[in-house]
Symmetry: C2
Subunit: 198 residues, 2 copies
Amino acid sequence: MARTSNREKILTEGLRVVHERGFANASVRDIVQAAGVPQGSFTNHFASKEAFGLEIIDLYDAAGRALGARTLLNEALPPLQRLHAWLQAGRESMAACSMRNGCLLGNFAADACEQSGSIRRRVLAAFSELQASVACCLRAAVAAGEIDAQLDCDDVAGFIVASLQGANLLAKVTGEAAPLDRFERLLFERILPAPRSS
Amino acid sequence: MARTSNREKILTEGLRVVHERGFANASVRDIVQAAGVPQGSFTNHFASKEAFGLEIIDLYDAAGRALGARTLLNEALPPLQRLHAWLQAGRESMAACSMRNGCLLGNFAADACEQSGSIRRRVLAAFSELQASVACCLRAAVAAGEIDAQLDCDDVAGFIVASLQGANLLAKVTGEAAPLDRFERLLFERILPAPRSS
């Protein structure tokens, strides 16, 4: 049976602790305690807390990209159904912690960007890639005749990524899914126009 | 000439420091250094860092309410012009720090809500009041025939408050006003429907 290395334990448990408490609020001591490893193990494996932060963003982003591949970019589903599936999965992951944790990328954006240019650039790269996946899904919806061909897919994808961050933030503050439900409803009712011919 | 009390200095300079760095990242030492007062002065005036946090949210929120009175609730202006004026003022205040600081309420929401139920409730109250002011402006726009009478003003006001937080967050990460411009454009083009009779 494969042994989980201290490095892996620090990353997995550290991601959980940072997601729950915020990067600035989670001390290295909190992280090693959660991982059940000695404090020296952290400094053996990570040059700094910032270096650790960049690695947990990578981990979180890899999960986000895997979700994007199963939903937004999944050509086995009709395009708008992919978008619904992606939003649904996001809502479920928010609900799994009673909305409390929010999106790790958004938390880093609010909390740690000013402290670290590397973290800001890493978060920006993740948002940009997500926006590209949403735009790809919207272009597929245009090609399939599900939404109007005049839609500026990149522009609306940027709007979706940003607005969803806002909905996550309000869900976190209110502890309710209503902001997420409202975003999805208004997105499909108002932002994504039906084809003109229909 | 009125003398600025240490308490006022801590609040004014502390608000600035917390807005720049985030609540968790700003230590009491950073705050008293910026205020130019002895560390003991902080503990004389505030029972805890959380109590100080609640007071700077009050200060920030009072400025936000004053802005709302000059824009969203200003009956001297046509309703949709009030909404534009409010968004414009928000964009200018974001631009004054090259987008870096974001919205203090949003930063607290991402950063400190899980640490403090009092802060979460205070931030939620501020968002709720803001949503009520936006809804009031939208109802005036309906009454003035500027937007469709079928609009659910409370629902759309909730969407506006949330989405604007997301746009602020993306402006902060990108360092650009584009997410704010995009939000305002799509809001007026797609979310707020023209009256059916026009």
